[in-house]
Assembly symmetry: C2
Homo-oligomer: 526 residues x 2
Amino acid sequence: MSLITGQNFIGGQRRADGSIIVKSVDASTGETLPYSFHQATPQEIDDAARAAACAFPAYRSLSAVKRADFLDAVAEELDALDAEFIELVCRETALPAARIQGERARTSGQMRLLANVLRRGDFYGARIDRALPQRKPLPRSDIRQYRTAVGPVAVFGASNFPLAFSTAGGDTASALAAGCPVVFKAHSGHMATAEQVANAILRAAESCGMPAGVFNMIYGTGVGEALVKHPLIKAVGFTGSLKGGRALCDMAAARPEPIPVFAEMSSINPVLILPEALANRAEIIAKELVASVVQGCGQFCTNPGLVIGIRSEAFSAFQASVATLINDQPAQTMLNVGTLRSYNDGLQHLHAHPDIVHLAGSKQQGNQAQPQLFKADISLLLEGAEILQEEIFGPTSIFVEVADRVQLNAALNALHGQLTATLIGEPDELLEFAELTALLELKVGRILINGYPTGVEVCDSMVHGGPYPATSDSRGTSVGTLAIDRFLRPVCLQNYPDSLLPDALKDANPLNILRLVDGYPSRDTL
Amino acid sequence: MSLITGQNFIGGQRRADGSIIVKSVDASTGETLPYSFHQATPQEIDDAARAAACAFPAYRSLSAVKRADFLDAVAEELDALDAEFIELVCRETALPAARIQGERARTSGQMRLLANVLRRGDFYGARIDRALPQRKPLPRSDIRQYRTAVGPVAVFGASNFPLAFSTAGGDTASALAAGCPVVFKAHSGHMATAEQVANAILRAAESCGMPAGVFNMIYGTGVGEALVKHPLIKAVGFTGSLKGGRALCDMAAARPEPIPVFAEMSSINPVLILPEALANRAEIIAKELVASVVQGCGQFCTNPGLVIGIRSEAFSAFQASVATLINDQPAQTMLNVGTLRSYNDGLQHLHAHPDIVHLAGSKQQGNQAQPQLFKADISLLLEGAEILQEEIFGPTSIFVEVADRVQLNAALNALHGQLTATLIGEPDELLEFAELTALLELKVGRILINGYPTGVEVCDSMVHGGPYPATSDSRGTSVGTLAIDRFLRPVCLQNYPDSLLPDALKDANPLNILRLVDGYPSRDTL
C-alpha cells in the first residue's frame, strides 16, 4: 500500500494548497483515522478541470485499443492492491473483507469488460452511407458517422460501494473507456481508500503513457458544486441520494452551457409475490427475501424496500414468517454515522405514520442498524404518498397488501420510477399475470423474475437505471457496458478523403469492426 | 385538401373549447388567411397529454413492423396531398412550390427510412447474456436487454421547415418510430399547413388501427409551456431559436420529474477556406458559397454565417468577389414578419458594431430580406464576442481574416458549439491542416469537406446536432435514423421465461435481428 498523503491529484501531480483539513473515520469505532486530506481550493478545482480538458484532445484521439490497454492496466493495479488495502477499506466502511475482495474483483472485472468493448468496437456506432453521385434529383455525398467522447467528466462516488461505484468504479471506467478524462470527487466516507485507488489508476496511466490529466481527484466538502459548474466539465456521473443528485442536476441545467448528468439516486425496488409461488414455496421465499433485505446491512441501491402481495391467509402467514426471520437478524454496522442517522430518521417517520404498522425488529438504538419490517396500508401506495416512495437506506422493508389483481395494477401504476422490480411466481401464473411485466417495464430499468434485486451483474445486458427518481435520465445505465453511451456523442464526417477519416470509418475497415454500411451491418472493406 | 376547421386534435377527436382565436397569414402579402384556429384551453392541453399517455402502453407494445406500416402509411398520405395543399404551404411560408415539393418528398422519405429502421430492428439494441449456472463464485442469471419507448413526447415544429421539421417532421417521425405517442404544438407560422398534415397522419393512424391518442396537435400561443410541464409528457423535441429552446430546457429541468429535451437551436456554421483551394478555384467557391448563403433566403439552421480565411491577397480578392456576387442577389420574402424583424435587428447590431464592416448588400428595407455581407475583426472571434456567435437567421454572412495558422486554431477554439463546420481545401493541404478536423470534431456535429452545409441528407449517418448552443444535448441528432435514440431507453429482463420475453429477445429470434449474444453479434437462435 502506498503512503497516504491526503493531497489532491491534479494533472499527474499531487497538490495540497489549501488549509482546510478533512478526516476519515473508522466506520466501526467512529475513531478518527491518522490521515489528513486537504480540501481542494477553488484554484485546485479549476486546475483539475483544466488538466482534464488539456488531456482531452489527445486522450480522445488515442486508438480504442490503447485505451483498452490502459483499462486493463488499471484492473491489474486494482487486483494487485494488498491485504493492508483491503483492511483499510474495511476500516473506512465497516464492510467485511470478503465483500471488499468481491467488490474489488467486480471493479477490475468491469474495467476489463469495458476494455473488451473498446476492442470489439461497437461503441463507435460506425455508420457509412456511400456517395450516390448519380442520384436524382440530387446526388448524395459520402457521409459517415462515428461516436466520440463528450469531454471531461466529473464523477461523484457512492458511499456504499467504496470500489465498484467510486474512484475506479463504473462511472470512471465508462468515462475513461469513452475517451473522457475524469475529475473524481472523493467520497468523504472513504478518502483513504480513494487515495489508494487513485494511485493505482495513476500507476496504470503512467505505465501506459496516458496524458497527465486523464484522471484527477479532489477532496473536500462542497467542492462538487464548483466542479459541476466548471465550464470545461462536459458531463457528470453520480451515485447517491435523491437530494444530492437532484441538486447536481439543477446546477448542471442552470449553467450557461447546460450539461448532461447521469445521477443514480433513489429506488425502493418493489418485490411482487404471486399466490401460487406463495402456496408452493413460502418458506424459501421468506428466507431469500430476508437475506436480500439485510445483505450488506441493506446498503444497496437495489435493496427490496417494498413487498407487495394479494391479501390472503397465505400472504399473512408469509408476512409472519418474514417478521420472525427479521427478528432473528443481527444488527450491523453501517457505512458511517450519517448513514445510520438517516436510517434512524427514516424509521422514525415510518413509526410515526398512522397508516404504517411495525411488524418486526428490535428497537433501533446504539451504533448499529437493527433490521426492521413494517406494513403500510395500500391507500398510501395508491395515493402516491411520499413516505412509501422514498428510499430508506438500510435493512428494512415494507409490506403492502392489495385486495385483488385490479388493485395490484393500480398500485404498480402509482409507483415512481425504480431501478428494479421483482416478480416471484410459478411459471403458469407468470403467464396469467403477463400484464404485470408490461406495466413494470414502464416503471423500472430492470425486471427480475424469481430472483432478488441485490446483486447487479456487470455485463452487456445489465441496466442499472430507470425512470426518475431512480435516475435523472432513464436512457442511461451506470452498470454494464451500455454505461459508455452516456459519455459518447455522434459526429458526422461528410465527403472526407479516406486518409482523414478515423480508423473506425476508413474504407479498409482496419479495425475489422461491424459497421452499418448503406443500411446493412457489415465488416467488409469498401 | 380537407376542410380547415382550426380545431385541436385530441385523442382522435377535434376540439375547439376555447374562445381565443389565432390567425394564419399570407407570408408574402401579410394578409390574414380566412381560417380561425382555436387556442387550446388548459383542459385541452391536459386532455391531449392524457390521450397520448393513454395510447402509450398499447402503442409501445405494437410490433415494430406494425409501427413501420403506420409510418409508411403516413408517408403515402403526405405524398398524396394535392396541389392545393402545396399552394397553401407556399402562401403561409412564402417558400417556392418546388422547395415545398422537395421538402414534402424529404418528409415522407424520412418516415419511410424510419420504417426501415423499425424493420431492420437495430434500434432495439437487443443484448443477451445467457445464464452461467456453473460460474464460480456466483452463478449468472439469464440477462437480456432491449430498448423501449420513453413515453409521450411533446414536439415543437420549426418555422423554417413547414413539413420536414414540423407536424410530420423528424422529431415526430422518430418519436412515433420509437413507440412514443406525440403531442405536437403547431407553429404559428403555418397552422393551416399543420392541420392538413395532422389530418394526413390521422388518416394513416385510422387505416392502420393505431390507438386514438397516438398523435395529437394543439394550437395557440403559450400552450407549449403547459405541455412541457405536464407530468405525463416524458421528453421534448424542439427546433427553433436559442431563446425558445433554452426556455423549454429550463422548464423541463425544473419539473418535479425532470425530462430530457432535445432542442436544436443556434449555429453559425463556419466555413474555412484554405489557401490552395483559393488559389485554384476562388471563383467557383465564391459562387457556391453565395448560393449556400442565400438559399431559401438564408433560412436554414445550417446557413454558413461565418467565413474564415488566412489573410492574403487571394483572400482579399475572394472577399471582393463574394461581395460583388452578394450585391447581385435579389431580395427575398422571409417566412413571416417576425423573422424579417429579427433579421433587421441582427443586421442593425452588425452595422452598429465598431469592429464590424459592411462589405455588400443593398440597404435593408421594405418587406423583403436583402442579402448582406460583413467583415469582422478577428479579435471578436478570439474574445468570444456574442455578436459573432449568435446566429443571424437570414441571407447574410460574416468574413473573418486570421493572421496565420496559429490564429486560425485559436479562432476555432473560441467558437461555441455548432451544427456544422466546413473545410474548403485541396487534397494535399487538407492533410497538411489535419489538426483542423480534429479540433472541429470537438465543436460540431458534422464536418463537411468541399461541400456546403445547407442541405441535410436524411440517412443513417447524418448528425444534425452538436454541442451547445447548437443543441441542448450533443449526444442526439434530429435528422437521420439515429434520431430515434433520443426517445428510447434500455430495459433489462432477468431470468425471464421465453414466452414472456418480447420478440426481440426470444430464443428463437423470430424477428431475425442482429443481437449481441454473450458479447458477439449474432442472428442465431439460441
